[in-house]
Symmetry: C2
Subunit: 171 residues, 2 copies
Amino acid sequence: MMVDATGFSAEEWTLWRAYRSAHGQLNRALDRQLQRDSGISQADFGVLAAIFEARDGHLRVGQLAEVLAWEKSRVSHQVTRMESRGLLQRRDCDADGRGSWIELTADGRRAFLGALRGHAAELRRLFVDLLSPAERTVLLDTSERVLEELNPALCESEKAGVPAPIDETAA
Amino acid sequence: MMVDATGFSAEEWTLWRAYRSAHGQLNRALDRQLQRDSGISQADFGVLAAIFEARDGHLRVGQLAEVLAWEKSRVSHQVTRMESRGLLQRRDCDADGRGSWIELTADGRRAFLGALRGHAAELRRLFVDLLSPAERTVLLDTSERVLEELNPALCESEKAGVPAPIDETAA
DNA sequence: CAAGATTGACGTGTCAATCTTA
DNA sequence: TAAGATTGACACGTCAATCTTG
């Protein structure tokens, strides 16, 4: 096996390039599908889904950041953009004067439900359906291992509650 | 197995979320390391590496786009930014008056070689070393399958030439 | 002061339109 | 007209600084 000055073999570089490229192109394809069919991005979809699934119909910025594994400032910018498009609205938080609740507007709920089927189908076509059960297990295991290495504390706490599947009838 | 209105099981959503999250956080960690230690981004690194490995020391915008699997306009913006920082320079292309060659400056070459070891080490620590040989095979296979599904034509042609490992002594 | 959240500046990525040369 | 490439507008994401309330 050839080894260069970095200690990486050709196979290892190839693996990294393929992994990166696949994820990048998959994301682009999914964004195009969502934008074309529903006028929203994957970022929008993730936020809409998180709030849709929230028990009380609203989330704090910090909660959203935790659920999505985003920085708070990223959430704030995203919410501002979505609010300006009428998908969300901020509302004063009763218990804590520092924060606000983010909740869906009627348009936001419609956008999410309208996008759900098409997005899931595309995700199936371009990713899930291409994997065998054994491969899915490997992808899940390795993903969790990477996350664990990046942030040990966070992953421990996540083991507790796995989010329930989306129930469209809850609309 | 529970199935919701999208036809996805909880396991499938979890897989997708973990896969996305792992890749996203891994990218952020690698960007932070590169920025901190060498003042460049992963995008910069990819461009520098591609030109460094080029046989004649320069590439056309279109070639760069093909190697990196980027859109041409993305390459153009990136090259403009890197040129303004003194890492690259555009030069008139002899054979074709429409295009230009992109080549490294001395600073660009230095930046690439200076970043190489640290970046590879971080990539090893956060990704490659976490995977068993069998898992690496699965990740490579599935990545290539996804790419194939997204763009059948492109992948056929890529089977021909796998890039050689980086030889630092070529500096 | 700590924590929740927002803001501004800047780098990044996409799309559509445009410019120039083959 | 096609192809190679650039540009401008805009969405996205990060970091550091800031504002407000606990």
